[in-house]
């Protein structure tokens, strides 16, 4: 998979998100939903943080995606999914942060991946030989809707990292020491067919992906290849993708390609300072390590 992949970049606010999202999807290669009866949309509800913080999927953004699907594909079953995590209870968040009325309006169904039936997949991955995968991903077209965020653990958290959240295990924190490998495995098992990154309000600073700085980057990034999309996002955020472990490992494992062709706006036009400090991230890591040792 070393060929060049199309990745679209479109400037946007939440005001005219639908028009811009449609353009981003078309430039990014378009959705190829026709052969599927159902679509799974993986949103990001990583912590008890409100949408304007940039930590979780914005309901307005999800609504635009649902509208696009409903207007372009008839009779499609749409599932919106997320799994429980160490500090996340998406069943509650979906209610508290205003997603339910939107799902009802566009006839989408909420599913908690931690409560779904699973099937065992042989992936021969970097961390897992076999991985329990929610059955809902079988035969469904998968759209991942990540936020454009920094992460104290993986530097950036975009399309590839969003799929880490598809692993149904609640205590995913146990995977953190080998997170790059586990991210790759999650993408081998549940590779998204299309990625639409919401960087309209992203998250910067060194305390992401939940407690960083809300960062209005005013951009949507879309494409069919999660590795190419993340490579472009890394560039926009001011990182060198060569030094981001999970991007490099995913490319080596043939999840996708780091070679991309940008359509729409160019990277230099939308480049934002995501206020990442390697020193601060290091101090946070040391602090967390010391605390865990003392406890």
């Amino acid at each position: 998979m070393k060929d060049v992949k199309c990745v679209s970049i479109v400037r946007s606010g939440y005001d005219h998100v639908y028009t811009n999202l449609r353009r981003a999807i078309h430039l990014g290669g378009g959705l190829n939903v026709k052969d599927h009866e159902s679509v799974v949309i993986k949103i990001n509800l990583c912590d008890f943080r409100t949408p304007e913080t940039g930590a979780i999927t914005h309901p307005i953004f999800l609504e635009a995606v649902l509208r696009y699907l409903r207007e372009n594909y008839q009779g499609l079953k749409i599932y919106v999914v997320e799994s429980d995590a160490t500090v996340a209870r998406p069943d509650l968040f979906i209610r508290w942060f205003g997603f339910l009325p939107i799902l009802q309006k566009w006839g989408a169904v909420w599913r908690n991946l931690s409560k779904e039936k699973t099937v065992t997949k042989d992936i021969n991955g970097l961390y897992f030989q076999k991985l329990e995968v929610p059955q809902i991903f079988e035969d469904s077209y998968c759209i991942t809707l990540p936020k454009m965020k920094t992460s104290s653990v993986t530097k950036i958290s975009c399309a590839l990292k969003n799929q880490f959240g598809c692993i149904p295990t609640r205590r995913k924190i146990v995977f953190h020491p080998k997170i790059d490998d586990v991210i790759v495995d999650a993408n081998l098992a549940m590779r998204p067919n299309f990625c639409i990154v919401d960087g309209i309000i992203g998250m910067g600073g060194s305390q992401g992906p939940a407690f960083g700085v809300p960062l209005p980057a005013h951009v949507i990034v879309a494409g069919g290849d999660p590795v190419a999309v993340d490579t472009v996002c890394a560039r926009i955020m001011g990182f060198n993708p060569f030094f981001i472990g999970h991007i490099q490992k995913a490319a080596k494992s043939n999840v996708g390609s780091t070679r991309y062709k940008v359509l729409g706006n160019q990277i230099k036009e939308v480049k934002a300072n995501f206020r990442w400090s390697i020193l601060e991230a290091f101090v946070i890591k040391v602090g967390e390590y010391l605390q865990s040792r003392v406890k």
Binding site: F48, T50, R89, W96, F97, G98, L290
Partner: protein, 359 residues
């Protein structure tokens, strides 16, 4: 002292059980939890001989002298009354109860059955907090005019997978009792009137996720308590303003490590800033080296239990009495009423005659 613990969730297994286990004159006799697996796991982990799924059965064991109540807050009244009826001394996780009526019922039952009662308001035990109290009592600040308190924390999803915590009180009944108790303890006067603003800022949680409480005391001190689950911050801060000076303490880190109090009189000079900065640096270095930096409020459970057991055995004063905890409940309930009816609430409105309340 033989002890039984009711409720084997996070607060029991992280704080109560390890603290009881660490004390030489305590024998952990039994645990109870409606979830059999949790009861058994806790019993196994802490080497406790008996585990029950029905706490009432546990309470019938005559060898148990003291019970620790770690069940969800809405159940405290029922469980505590039953335990008092069985003649057990009561060590209750905060808040004592969710209503003044419930708290009074517990207090009355404890009195009738001649058992002692202590509530876990452990923030008083932070050295920085004790130091503030000492300086106020010394008169360093003159007369206390106002206290501004901030208690912001993250929603405790790590503590419980269940939804019991998201009852109407929300953050007010979760982290709020620590701040309210600290303020009441420092002011040392009866609360008179409460007015609150806030509620459910998300509009869909159906519980209080942010509240600002304004309190007036009988000695005319005014205090504010700013309590939140929403800001993503973890901080507990108190600014005490007196006619003669000002003290502030603040914790800014995960485990509520408190900086040493900063005391200021008159206008702070650059020398004060320098002195405070060097004090903070020295204190931070010392606490990091000694490991104290990483010990949060859970570290004080042992101390409060020890003092409570002493008070039972020697008949001395209970460290945090039921009457003090009742005042905290009264402030919380008055704040809820103030929110609901959009008015200030005189706390005495909430106190019904206790004579007829026996549970």
């Amino acid at each position: 002292m033989r002890v039984g613990v009711i409720g084997c969730g996070a607060i029991a297994t992280r704080a109560h059980l390890p603290a009881f286990k660490s004390l030489p004159n305590v024998e952990l006799q039994a645990v109870a939890d409606v979830n059999e697996k949790m009861a058994r796991t806790a019993a196994k982990k802490f080497g406790i001989p008996n585990s029950y799924t029905d706490y009432k059965k546990m309470l019938r064991d005559p060898s148990i002298d003291l019970v620790s109540i770690c069940t969800p807050s809405p159940t405290h009244t029922e469980v505590a009354i039953e335990a008092a009826k069985n003649g057990k001394h009561l060590f209750i996780e905060k808040p004592l109860a969710l209503t003044v009526r419930g708290a009074q019922m517990i207090l009355n039952m404890a009195k009738e059955n001649n058992v002692k009662l202590c509530v876990v308001h452990n923030y008083r035990y932070f050295p920085a907090m004790k130091e503030v109290k000492r300086r106020i009592d010394l008169g360093n600040l003159g007369r206390i005019v106002t206290i501004q308190g901030i208690a912001h924390t993250r929603i405790p999803l790590q503590w419980t997978a269940s939804t019991w915590l998201y009852h109407k009180g929300g953050a007010l009944d979760d982290f709020g009792p620590h701040l309210i108790d600290s303020i009441l303890w420092l002011v040392n006067s009866k609360i008179e009137k409460v007015c609150a603003f806030g509620g459910d800022f998300l509009g869909k949680m159906n519980c209080t996720n942010y509240i600002q409480i304004l309190m007036r005391f009988e000695n005319r001190t005014v205090a504010t308590a700013d309590i939140s689950w929403l800001t993503g911050r973890i901080t507990f801060a108190l600014n005490v303003h007196g006619t003669g000076g000002y003290i502030s303490i603040e914790s800014d880190l995960k485990n509520f490590f408190f900086n040493d109090p900063i005391e200021t009189h008159g206008l702070p000079t650059p020398l004060d800033d320098l002195r405070n900065l060097s004090k903070k640096t020295i204190s931070l270095t010392k606490k990091t080296i000694s490991g104290k930096f990483f010990k949060g409020a859970l570290a004080f459970y042992g101390t409060i239990i020890k003092e409570f057991i002493n008070s039972i055995e020697k008949g001395t004063k209970v460290p945090v009495s039921g009457e003090e905890a009742l005042q905290v409940v009264a402030v919380s309930e008055a704040a809820k009423l103030s929110l609901a009816e959009d008015r200030s609430v005189a706390v005495k409105e909430l106190f019904v005659k206790t004579k007829n309340i026996t549970g």
